[in-house]
């Protein structure tokens, strides 16, 4: 696959030498500090990929558009119109860096492809226009229908080279949708495309939570009459019931190793969060109260668990230390804070809190302090972090019906992902890449 590995290696070594031997290699190539509070978006220009012959002419246009779509999705790039270039944008000759710079772009992606029988050979190159050099070149040997995979992979390469972080272009999400009138579980690609229904229980199905290994979704459903907790195999879609204790069995949350889950039970006035193994047997009791304890979310190391409790009179977020059994209150602002989601990086907890009569997404440090408000307008609920902790999925009714939205974890770049019939709620991000 790699046709120019030596060039890249040479480039990395050159950069490394430039910054001095004490600087780690990867840090040296980071162009964009995505942790800085205000990010200036990188302008990139992507002319249509050029075919060496005339077959599958539309593919070059679609693939170039998809790459732009992927980079735009990250929130770190601004995609410029290639018609701003004075020459022929898809010309395969040598790169005129100066002419391309006049478009305002800092980076250029050029692609060419040809079809050999059923094979698609796609070569993609990234150029730094300011420095006048090629940064990255990859040749993908695939079939025409899989061109998207190659483009997603190249987008990931670009992102990793420029930010030091991998992208989400090969991940999936799941959520509840009422497409057929009932609340069922659906899945989609990271960008909301490839929408698929996973269940048809014709009941009320809620809170899907994708397992750390990506091969199961835990959820609550009334499909057998009462709210019980089930596991759904991915991709087989077989369903196993793991908790049907009296009262409500709700809000499953995977332990980081994927071998157990925290589940909230409420019955006869008592509320508890239990840790159950994958067959539903109790591992340990985590919390117990006469009020309401629900919505657990584990810290990435599994030593702490955030959850919602009304033990102080209104729903607030608490943190349990599983070793010492100490519980401390995390949120003190507002009288209704729910849906905690612990970032996979460990440094943030996102939650939905009521502010001015509507729900908004906030983030707060697990050690406490001032919450940062990320959303405005409509009700914004059910946050869930991307596997890299860089983005937050959530549901919002800011445009009328509830749909799935996405934003960067600092609240920038808020965008709608689902445009389908019915309403969508309760998104969950699959922590695993699907190509693996």
């Amino acid at each position: 696959m790699r046709k120019y590995p030596l060039k890249i290696l040479g480039f990395l070594i050159a950069i490394g030498l430039f910054f001095g031997a004490y600087v780690p290699l990867l840090q040296a190539v980071v162009y964009l500090d995505i942790d800085s509070p205000s990010i200036k978006k990188i302008p990139v220009i992507i002319p249509n990929f050029k075919n060496r012959d005339s077959a599958e002419a539309g593919l070059g246009e679609a693939a170039a558009a998809l790459l732009g779509h992927d980079l735009d999705y990250t929130g770190y790039f601004r995609i410029l119109d290639p018609r701003g270039y004075i020459g022929a944008p898809d010309d395969l000759g040598p790169i005129d860096y100066k002419a391309w710079s006049l478009t305002g772009a800092e980076f250029l992606v050029k692609g060419q492809y040809n079809l050999e029988g059923s094979r698609l050979l796609l070569t993609l190159r990234l150029f730094d226009l300011q420095k006048g050099r090629q940064l990255l070149a990859k040749e993908y040997d695939t079939v025409p229908k899989d061109y998207k995979k190659a483009v997603h992979r190249f987008a990931d390469e670009i992102l990793f080279l420029l930010t030091g972080e991998h992208g989400l272009f090969q991940t999936k999400i799941a959520f509840i949708s009422t497409n057929n009138g009932k609340k069922e579980i659906y899945s989609a690609d990271f960008d909301g495309t490839n929408f698929q229904r996973l269940t048809q229980f014709n009941s009320i199905t809620l809170t899907p939570r994708w397992s750390p290994r990506g091969n199961e979704i835990a959820f609550t459903s009334y499909k057998d009459g009462a709210p019980n907790v089930y596991l759904l195999q991915i991709p087989g879609l077989q369903t196993t019931r793991i908790s049907s204790r009296p009262g409500v069995n709700i809000t499953p949350a995977w332990y980081p190793d994927g071998e157990s889950l925290a589940v909230a039970l409420n019955n006869k006035g008592t509320s508890e969060i239990l840790q159950l193994n994958r067959s539903g047997t109790v591992v340990q009791k985590l919390t117990q109260s006469w009020g309401i304890d629900v919505s657990p979310s584990w810290s990435p190391d599994g030593r702490q668990m955030a959850f919602v409790s009304n033990r102080s009179g209104s729903p607030q977020i608490y943190i349990l230390n599983t070793a010492s059994r100490e519980v401390r209150r995390l949120t003190f602002q507002g009288n209704y804070n729910v849906n905690p989601a612990w970032s996979p990086k460990g440094n943030l907890i996102a939650f939905a809190g009521r502010a001015g009569g509507q729900f908004q997404i906030f983030t707060i440090s697990p050690s406490g302090g001032e919450p940062q408000r990320l959303t405005n307008g409509g009700n914004n609920e059910s946050p869930d972090f991307s596997p890299d902790g860089r983005m937050i999925l959530f549901s919002s009714n800011r445009h009328g019906k509830s749909a799935i939205y996405i934003m960067n974890s600092n609240g920038s770049n808020q965008r709608r992902l689902t445009f389908t019939a019915g309403e969508q709620f309760s998104p969950t991000w699959c922590p695993k890449k699907f190509d693996e």
Binding site: I204, V248, I250
Partner: protein, 198 residues
């Protein structure tokens, strides 16, 4: 002794065979197409009369059964209607709650006092308490809150002497609002415990 026995055997054979011949000849006649004619012999007339009599008494029986059935049907209809109205009387009135609360108000207790009396009047009835919430807040928290509301109702009914075995609970959280509106008026209708007979 032997000759006497032989004589009686002959007589027996004669009689049985003549009977056989008679019945055969009658069949033959019927088979020739006269069987469809109304019987003309006195014997046949008597048989026909007998049949008619049986028919008449049959229809009499039937009429009697029909009127009994009708009465039973009316009785059952009345019982059903009474049961339906009793069911409606029991199920119609809901118990309402404040936002994010599961404490029973005095009004709620008065409604439940009536329901407890009803359950004592119909000692075989079993009921399920449904806990419901308004649309505000997380679906998850509201599922637990709905359960709390149903539990509060059940505990109160048990405290009034209703056997816990006759009661069950289920929470629907905010999943089955009675009023789909988004106003304070709709919300107040949706924060409820509803009882259904099982």
């Amino acid at each position: 002794m032997k000759a006497k026995n032989t004589f009686w055997i002959f007589i027996f054979i004669f009689l049985t065979s003549s009977l056989f011949i008679l019945s055969c000849s009658k069949k033959t006649i019927k088979g020739e197409g006269e069987g469809t004619k109304p019987p003309t012999t006195t014997e046949d007339e008597a048989a026909a009369r007998k049949k008619v009599q049986i028919k008449e008494s049959d229809s009499g029986l039937k009429e009697k059964t029909l009127s009994e059935e009708e009465a039973r049907r009316l009785r059952e209809e009345e019982q059903r209607m009474r049961a339906a109205s009793e069911k409606a009387r029991f199920e119609s009135e809901d118990v309402y709650f404040e936002f994010d609360q599961y404490i029973l108000s005095d009004t709620a207790k008065q409604v439940l006092d009536k329901k407890a009396k009803w359950l004592k009047d119909f000692p075989n009835a079993k009921a399920q308490v449904e806990g419901h919430c308004d649309e505000r807040g997380s679906a998850e928290y509201n599922l637990a809150l709905g359960q709390k509301r149903a539990d509060a109702v059940m505990q109160y009914l048990v405290s009034l002497g209703i056997n816990a075995n006759r009661l069950s609970t289920i929470s629907y959280g905010k999943e089955k609002p009675l009023d789909p509106g988004h106003t304070e008026d709709a919300w107040s209708k949706n924060r409820r415990a509803h009882m259904v007979l099982k």
